[in-house]
């Protein structure tokens, strides 16, 4: 393979928003010689039918993702103290005092349904 051909094959990751309200999502990856071509290819490859509000292309080598070792670590972290389910036992406690546990809505007060 000559040099110009090898430069043709860069991997770009494609991200897209379906509507202006939706978050960016990973669409897929493609090969392109530069970002402009990557955008054209992304439109041709992934959005012939689907609606799309915006597209990002990012050269893969510029993305620092987790490696498997780091991903495996995520599975083992106990984060219950950060989540509602870590506080489920409070319901029974409050019952002992003849009180209902506040729901998320109650805690958020004025921003709930009663506002």
């Amino acid at each position: 393979m000559n040099e110009s051909t090898s430069e043709f094959y860069n991997v770009y990751e494609v991200f897209s928003k379906k509507t202006d309200k939706s978050p960016f999502q990973h669409s897929f990856s493609l090969l392109a010689p530069n970002a402009d071509m990557a955008l054209i290819m992304a439109k041709e490859n992934f959005f012939r039918r689907e609606t799309v509000a915006d597209i990002w292309v990012v050269k893969r080598e510029n993305i620092r993702g987790l490696n498997q070792d780091e991903r495996e670590m995520l599975k083992r972290l106990d984060k219950q103290y950060r989540e509602t389910k870590g506080y489920g036992y409070l319901k029974k406690k409050w019952r002992d005092y003849n009180q209902e546990q506040f729901t998320e809505q109650h805690i958020l007060g004025g921003r709930g349904d009663n506002s």
Binding site: M1, S4, T5, S6, E7, F8, Y9, N10, V11, F28, S29, L30, L31, A32, P33, N34, A35, D36, M37, M41, E44, N45, F46, R48, R49, K59, G65, N67, Q68, D69, E72, M73, R76
Partner: protein, 321 residues
């Protein structure tokens, strides 16, 4: 995995156990995950063949773009050809990421196709001489492809499953495009009905072959069995073929068409279709590049790759950022 131990510290054997536990638990394997070499090679074999088949598969249909019988039909078949090339792009991308650690890229895939090392689906080696063939390809060849692809939507390899999800969504249009063509012909003049029947006769054996032989006995390899173990696929070739029969034979008959196999029938006792098996030595000949259109289509692909070389070079001149 042992608590407190990093994944990188596991022995090869422990990594293998961990890998099998993950796929058995329905987790998806990603390109940079540890995987057994055998799994990688099975995926490369399967996905590069699938990807290149999409690209070669656009060729028999492309022949019908200039000859389609109306503007509407021309637009529809052009869109389908474009979709098939798009599917090829998706799948080759998946194959390339798997090949990267072996030092290979798209250029090598194309070279392997040209040298005959990389095979493509038997159906795309065949002639498509009439508009009836365009209809049968979209209705039944794509119908067969949908059956085998939707089986792998839950494949253990994440990128393949995600590519197939995109592909299957578009295949639905293709199947409907095919139904639209064959129904127009089936409801048309006696000549049109005859043309449709001719196409069905021409394609039937290729459709039987599409799913591959019943067991390793016919071809002497067991890739399908391995792929089931690795949860890349879930059903055998024969399961898929039977599913195809159950789905399509009643429809073919309902249009008054005849299947060119007078032994075909549903056996109530075994709940299986009994049929005349394909000639598997002929199948081997076809996929080895000796089908009626194999060399013509490969030549077309070689020429376009060569003729477009300057385009790739020109585009590559603008540095990637």
């Amino acid at each position: 995995m042992t608590v407190g131990m990093s994944f990188n510290q596991l022995s090869e054997e422990e990594k293998m156990t961990h890998f099998l536990d993950r796929i058995n638990a329905g987790e998806k394997i990603e390109p940079d995950d540890w995987m057994p070499e055998d799994y990688r090679l099975q995926l490369i074999r399967l996905i590069s063949m699938h990807g290149i088949s999409e690209i070669m598969g656009a060729l028999p249909e492309k022949e019908w773009v200039p000859k389609a019988p109306s503007l509407h039909r021309k637009l529809a078949i052009m869109a389908k050809v474009q979709d098939e090339m798009g599917h090829g792009q998706l799948l080759l991308r998946v194959a390339e990421d798997l090949m990267a650690p072996l030092g290979k890229n798209r250029h090598d895939i194309m070279e392997d196709l040209f040298s005959g090392k990389l095979k493509f689906h038997n159906v795309f080696h065949m002639d498509a001489p009439t508009w009836g063939d365009a209809g049968i390809i979209a209705w039944l060849v794509d119908g067969a492809a949908i059956i085998s692809q939707s089986m792998m939507l839950d494949s253990s390899y994440g990128p393949y499953a995600r590519a197939l999800k995109r592909i299957c969504a578009e295949e639905v249009f293709h199947a409907q495009h095919g139904e639209s063509i064959i129904l127009a012909m089936a409801e048309g003049t006696p000549e049109q009905r005859e043309m449709l029947q001719d196409s069905l006769n021409r394609w039937w054996e290729s459709l039987i072959m599409f799913f591959g032989p019943k067991s390793a006995k016919e071809t002497g390899n067991s890739n399908a069995d391995k792929n089931i173990m690795y949860k890349i696929r879930t059903k055998t070739n024969e399961d898929l073929r039977q599913e195809f029969f159950t789905k399509y034979i009643p429809r073919i008959w309902s249009l008054g068409l005849t299947i060119p196999d007078d032994t075909i029938r549903f056996d109530e006792d075994s709940q299986m279709w009994i049929y005349k098996d394909a000639d598997w030595s002929k199948f081997k000949q076809i996929v080895s590049g000796n089908g009626p259109q194999s060399q013509n289509r490969l030549d077309l692909r070689r020429r376009s790759y060569k003729n477009n070389e300057w385009v790739r070079a020109a585009l590559a001149a603008k540095k990637a950022i």
